[in-house]
């Protein structure tokens, strides 16, 4: 059962990501990315990390993507992009073609390198006690406390920065 779910979710994640880069309308790209994130959340559950799966949905699919959606709607570029020829721009002039070739090379390299490892079987998902929310919380607030506080300052700075950058100029 786990095997079937893995292949299904992996297929959804890959198809969603491919859809993100090949869709003309940025609204569809955002929706397909949400689908991809939900598939990844399922993969995290399969890997025995329910907490990470839940916060993937809460933070990524529930907050960051809503932000993207708002910006896409407010800037209203869906129609313009069709006029500018989003598809035509793919595989366009020199530097872009070079970039596409580089991505393919990266893909080939990664798949080749990773498949040369021995197929390491994963331990059964019985170690739930290790990955429970309590364990994560204890480690987060004891060993990684400084990083936690620094991240909170980072979010504050990002919030202030975003508000300042997106503000209309006073005439």
């Amino acid at each position: 059962m786990d095997t079937l779910f893995f292949w299904l979710l992996a297929a959804f994640a890959v198809m969603g990501s491919i859809g993100v880069i090949f869709q003309r309308n940025p609204m569809y790209s955002v929706v397909l990315l949400i689908v991809s994130f939900c598939a990844l959340s399922g993969l995290y559950v399969l890997l025995g990390a329910p907490f990470v799966a839940a916060i993937q949905i809460i933070i990524y699919a529930g907050a960051i993507m809503v932000l993207f959606l708002f910006v896409v709607m407010l800037l209203n570029v869906g129609h313009e992009d069709a006029l500018a020829g989003g598809m035509r721009a793919i595989g366009g002039a020199g530097p872009r073609r070079f970039g596409a070739v580089l991505s393919l090379v990266l893909l080939g390299e990664l798949v080749w390198a990773l498949s040369r490892l021995q197929g390491a079987p994963l331990a059964p998902r019985g170690g739930q006690a290790a990955a429970s929310v309590g364990t994560i919380g204890l480690k987060l607030f004891r060993d990684y406390a400084f990083a936690f506080e620094a991240t909170s300052v980072l979010i504050l700075v990002a919030m202030v920065g975003a508000i300042v950058l997106a503000r209309k100029e006073r005439p």
Binding site: L33, D81, A100, L140, A162
Partner: protein, 104 residues
């Protein structure tokens, strides 16, 4: 019908594929928002690697790193989108090619 059982490798290869797709998106798309979306795809691929490694090594440090990566990604998406909004106000276009001159 018997599918091969997922091993640690399969998760790594999946994350490699997602990362390469994200890179392709950054190179190929001519829309600032979609470029940012491709960056998010790359970040998620890295998250998947961390969680898979976590399961293989039976520890929780990877999940904590994922927690931090998500937070930083949120901050970066917010600031990136604010920059895109500011750029759009000046040039009325989201094509990176319209921002090639250094003066406004």
């Amino acid at each position: 019908m018997s599918l091969p059982e997922p091993t640690f490798n399969s998760y790594l290869i999946l994350s490699g594929i997602l990362f390469a797709i994200g890179t392709a998106g950054v190179f190929l798309r001519r829309n600032l928002i979609t470029i940012l979306l491709s960056v998010e795809v790359m970040l998620n691929a890295v998250n998947l690697t961390f969680v898979a490694a976590d399961r293989y090594y039976q520890t929780v440090d990877g999940q904590i790193i994922v927690f931090f990566v998500m937070t930083v990604a949120a901050a970066e998406a917010a600031v990136g989108l604010a920059i895109i909004i500011a750029l759009f106000r000046h040039r009325e276009s989201l094509n990176p090619d319209s921002f090639t001159s250094l003066k406004w």
